[in-house]
Amino acid sequence: MTGTFCQIRPLASHLRPVRDRVGLAPMLAALLLPSSIAAAQLFERATVIRGARVVLADGTYLDPGDVLIKGEKIQEVGAKLELSFADRLTAKTIDGSGKTVTPGIIDAWSGLGRAGAADQPDATASAWDAFNSYAMDDFSEARQNGVTAVFLSPGGNPGIKGLGVVVQLRVNENGSAGKLLAPEAALCIDLGSEESAIARMRTFQSVRKKFRAAVDYRKSLEDYEEELKEYLEKLKERQGEKQKGEDTGKKGAKEESPPKEPEKEKPSEKPEPTPGESERSPVGSGDFVDVMIQAKLTSTSADDSSDAGAARKDEPAPPDASKKDGDDKKKEDEPKKPTKPKFDPASEMLLRAIDHKLPVRIEAHRSADILNALELADEYNLDTILEGGTDAYLVANRIAEADAPVVLGKTTRTELFEPNEFRRHREENAAWLGHWGVPFTIGTGGDPSAARFAAANAQLALSSMPIARDRNSIAWLRAVTSDAARVIGVGDRIGRLHKGMQADVVIWSGDPSDPASRVEQVLVAGKVVYPLPEN
């Protein structure tokens, strides 16, 4: 019964009080069609926007064009769409004449709804955990300005900060906002450009150390597997020997229990030090000289890690050692079972980044930090996205070589001298990146109150770009829709008005570049979220 109820719900207004629908839905289902599934397919009420100026993915206009939305997705975009019989009967038509239809605006670097930040950076943290889905005023104002999705980075102190997420600004059944569109959009790292030179060195060093530790961790896991195999073989061998001995002597191998699956065993009493953490790092306590030495070590010796691996290999008593003293007691002769390295979730996370399963998004503002970020990316062959990039225009050629997209932040800053990471801020930054062929998008820099102006911010950022001079160009719109979606990794679901994409659609009263144009309606996942219908 609940199935029926859910399937047919799009037919009734989703805001009608629940008790009305409970009675109505099964009745309709029973009346109209025998199968509720068929009913859902046929009667999923479509929405069609007719005769509007539709902005296509390549930045051109389809004028007049229609957009057919069914369920959460865009069914079709085209001129004078032919609807199916059922749709023609039931579709809700929005007259788009004189209006412009664009994809929903995406804030590719947002703080919208962020309700807190961790003190200590933690690779396993998720920005979603700090998302306040009940910040109603913020969401409604964001939607009112056409924003339908945001990328949230975890806040907090510099370092490896955890997972960034993409949130689609849906209105949920319970009135809360937001649906997680990409729970693992990127692993966010902040190189702490706002800090002193020494603190920045330390931050970069600690980030790098963690990546090395992750590589060591993998090595230790692989070694463990190998040792385990050896151990099992040895055991089998010994078992065979014993069997022989016992066959000649007396029987009764009861005391010798067969080897169990080592995974099920408890972890050994004395846990091994986490690779890289206490074992080989004097840096944690933060002595500057140590940092320097460590930096030197890390940057010069590539074979360092294999050393560490070798050292680790030796640590659990090697099986060969016990072989020699064959005439000793049996117990000492026993092959020692290798200890499984302790599970390290942070390293696991970094390994996923190293394995290209997770892009890495590095916040870096000063040119030196940007170069450091590129170096880290090069060292571990990471899929890198640069965040911030205040000085990016100074090293644009290097960024272009590394082929790393850049997410720029807020365009406007004070003209007074700022002795911080924004010291060299220039509004022409985006233009320069464009000139060097660096793919970029523009967010609002993680400021919760600025998220609603993602569009205006992008307009400002691109006003210095010659392409923006073309009155028909909508370069800024592309930057905050399709480009933004691609950079934050959801380009296959949002950011374009195209068949099969999520129906995140903004209907403007006129040219979206003109501040006098109003946002008339916003649909997220096919549902109207602005203006919200009155109950």
């Binding site: 272009a400 800053r413 003209e415 000139h435 102006f453 205006a456 210095s464 001079r469």
Partner: protein
């Protein structure tokens, strides 16, 4: 890939870091003196901002001796020599930042005396300050250098053009008179120390000046001969200013950067203009809704740019955000040109494209309200002081 030899890169970077305006500056690039378009005899633009703030099509602005001689339909323009044609551009009066500290060298206040009408902001002005170039790049041709709101009577502001250093372009060196009310005025080491105290003191100062005592500037202000701007920290301060001086002869505007909608009640029907902003992406919804609410109640609204504390684009962005939150577009264009000119007391010189006014003009790539519109050319007193072509050239990687 996209690699240029390092020296060339360095040249480009030096070019962008140094200044894009360098190439356009006749002082440093004498070649530009020979450009006849440096002092055009007419500018033809696709659209222009009319004195009422609306956009009209196809006008030719005829210039003479640094002034606007007349505005004629483009097809009626007879001359051909020295005509700048920007058919894709929108010609606007130079923008006016009515509350700025651009060009200030050091602080713009005396902190010893609460009532200090003898102080003049022009004395803190550095005519070659880099702020002016930033202003020009953003299309701002006139700024009011305002004293900081530390004292009850802060002294006079200076109204200057942003081509300072090239010629005598001080529009007013002695006015408007700035007064301030609000928490920034209350100092622990001198009176007033509270809101009550500051309003009482203001009342006394006004009464004294009205009876012919006190500083000459205060007497002129109270008599309505010297206009003023009252910087109000919070809504009760704004109410107090109107209560204390609204009924008298004094001509003044109030500046307010809060978000109380009560301002509308206080100001409707008084004819007192209000200066709001500057706005930024952080401004609250209520603050952004104020310009629309006030203009609907027929209160003249000027928007401030707060250069250099705010971005050089803050003035235009303030207007754009105000329009986004309901302000009429024509009123918004006036709010960054004609209205601030009136508030600063220089409406007979700048602030509109009208015959007889100074030829301070900006060619935008589109409606100046659009945040993505670029500044293409800037003229002050009929002389081109900025051309975007140089910027475009720099962007194209040309070291020239």
């Amino acid at each position: 890939m996209n690699t240029l030899p390092p020296p060339l890169q360095a040249a480009i970077i030096a070019c962008i870091i140094g200044s894009n305006a360098v190439a356009a500056d006749p002082l440093t690039n004498p070649n530009l003196y020979h450009d006849s378009l440096l002092r055009p005899s007419a500018i033809v633009a696709g659209r222009y901002v009319a004195p009422d703030g609306t956009l009209l099509a196809n006008a030719a602005i005829v210039l003479e001796d640094g002034k606007i001689k007349e505005v004629v339909p483009a097809e009626n323009l007879e001359m051909t020599a020295g005509v700048v044609r920007r058919p894709d551009g929108v010609l606007s009066p130079g923008l006016i930042d009515v509350l700025s500290s651009a060009g200030a060298y050091g602080k713009v206040h005396e902190s010893a005396l609460a009532v200090d009408p003898g102080v003049s902001a022009i004395d803190a002005l550095d005519p070659r300050h880099a702020d002016f170039r930033k202003a020009v790049e953003a299309g701002v041709t006139t700024v009011v250098l305002a004293p900081a709101p530390i004292n009850l009577v802060c002294g006079t502001g200076a109204v200057v053009k942003t081509d300072m250093g090239r010629g005598a372009s001080v529009l007013r060196d002695d006015g408007p008179l700035f007064l301030a009310l609000g928490p920034s005025v209350w100092q622990p080491d001198r009176e007033p120390t509270s809101r009550m105290g500051s309003v009482a003191m203001l009342r006394q100062v006004v009464a004294e000046a009205g009876s012919g005592r006190g500083h000459r500037r205060l007497q002129e202000f109270v008599a309505g001969e010297l206009n003023g701007i009252v910087l109000c920290g919070e809504l009760p301060d704004l109410s107090a200013a109107i209560r204390t001086m609204g009924a008298g002869q004094a001509r003044f505007a109030v500046a307010y950067n809060g978000d109380g909608l009560g301002v509308v009640e206080d100001l409707a029907g008084t004819g007192i203009p209000v200066i709001l902003g500057s706005f930024a992406f952080e401004s609250t919804r209520r603050a952004l809704s104020l310009p629309a609410a006030l203009t609907s109640a027929d209160v003249p609204v000027a928007l401030a740019g707060n250069l250099p504390a705010a971005s050089r684009k803050a003035l235009r962005l303030s207007a754009a955000l105000a329009v986004r939150y309901g302000m009429d577009a024509a009123k918004a264009r006036q709010a960054i040109t004609a209205t601030p000119a009136a508030v600063a007391g220089v409406a007979d010189r700048v602030g509109a494209i009208r015959s007889g006014l100074d030829a301070d003009l900006v060619v935008f790539s589109d409606d100046p309200l659009r945040p993505d519109a670029a500044v293409l050319e800037v003229y002050i007193n009929g002389v081109r002081v900025f051309a975007d072509a140089d910027q475009v050239q720099a962007l194209a990687g040309d070291p020239q």
